[in-house]
């Protein structure tokens, strides 16, 4: 999968990795049994500290999304629970879309809407957000 990390975003890099993997699993980009690169390989690829990747992987393992096999890398855990999650995300996306459209209609620019969302999300920056 393709990772996009932003070192100057107000979010730890390991969480960005966690969320991107989580999102890829939820949207079906990653499926049970798929392999992710090893810690070293991914750290080198993204040019980030290996500790960042190690922390992300252990968090994902803890959440039951990833299985770490010594020496051979990380594998996505097959989980049925996640299938319905895909539906939930689609529905939520629809709601966000509708909200953005109605704000557009009221004359707010993309940038303003973006800022409102960012501020709102920072308010309850619940980092250990459980799904």
């Amino acid at each position: 999968m393709i990772f996009k990390l932003n070192p100057s975003a107000g979010q730890p890099l390991y969480l960005q990795v966690v969320q991107q993997v989580r999102h890829a699993i939820e949207t079906g980009v990653l499926r049970g049994g798929d392999a992710l690169p090893g810690i070293r390989t991914l750290a080198e690829e993204l040019v980030v500290s290996p500790n960042t990747i190690a922390k992300a992987y252990s968090e994902l393992e803890h959440a039951g999304l990833l299985e770490l096999r010594h020496g051979s890398g990380a594998y996505v855990m097959a989980k049925r629970r996640l299938e319905s999650r895909t539906e939930q995300i689609r529905a939520a996306q629809g709601r966000v879309q509708a909200l953005v459209e109605s704000l557009h209609a009221k004359g707010f620019s993309d940038e303003e809407i973006h800022r409102m969302f960012a501020t709102e999300l920072f308010y309850d920056s619940s980092l250990e957000r459980k799904t």
């Binding site: 920072f122 308010y123 920056s125």
Partner: protein, 298 residues
Amino acid sequence: MNNGLAIETSELTKQYGKIPVVDRLSLKVPKQQITAFLGRNGAGKSTTIKMLLGLTSPSFGAGSVLGKTIRDASQNRDLRREVAYVAEDKQLYSYMTVGQLIRFTRSFYSDWRADTETRLLKQFQLPLRQKVRALSKGMRTKLTLLLALSRQPQLLIMDEPSEGLDPVSVEELLHEIVGVAASGVTVFFSSHQIAEVERIADRACVIDHGKLLVDTSLEDMRRDYRRITLSFDTDPPAVALSLPGIQQVRTIGRQITLLAKENADAVVELTRDLHPASVEVSPVGLREVFLETVKEER
């Protein structure tokens, strides 16, 4: 002294005449992490590194590297076997060819890793027959890095390794640093390139005028540091916003801007009582933290 720290100094000071170049520096560098040592030119980075390696002796204070006291000559000798150092000026025997210099260096180390040497030679495309003096700056850095990494150090110390390198070479260097760290080597490097530090470092220590101003985990900084901007449609209230975590308050026209090191949520909640027309919260990057702290110090 084996408490998970690769480097520990206490009140480490170096004076030239009466002027302190390094001023009561208490540094803690954890093992198996990438720690960046940030500062402007002349901030005291190189002098600190030279003291750590025993290349110059401290005026006051103490320090230990991998549990060995830096002032003790015999401990220092042992230390140099375990620490690889990439110096700022990358001084090498310039009359040798690349191949000769590698063979020469290899002869000093019984645990030389031939596989690393071969891999890096290929990757860096170093010209074996060329004289060292004829190498470009980027090639010199790569050669120094090869010599340092083929020695299986526990700790890699680099003084401005990316200085003078083109973007492609910088990328290769960072890639290599990350790879080394993945093998369990502790990395401590000085730099004034904030962007590269922000990408690969676990921790950043900011030094200015010889003093340690910031010592933070970058992940913590991303999570906790926030710039909060309150905008008012009247003159902003003249209140003293002295809350824990607020590092700086500035009023510009009808706006108040705060730099919060922690508790941004609580700060925002409290500022709601001031009835601002809008509140904006944005992340704070290393560049901003660096510039703000260095500016305040002046």
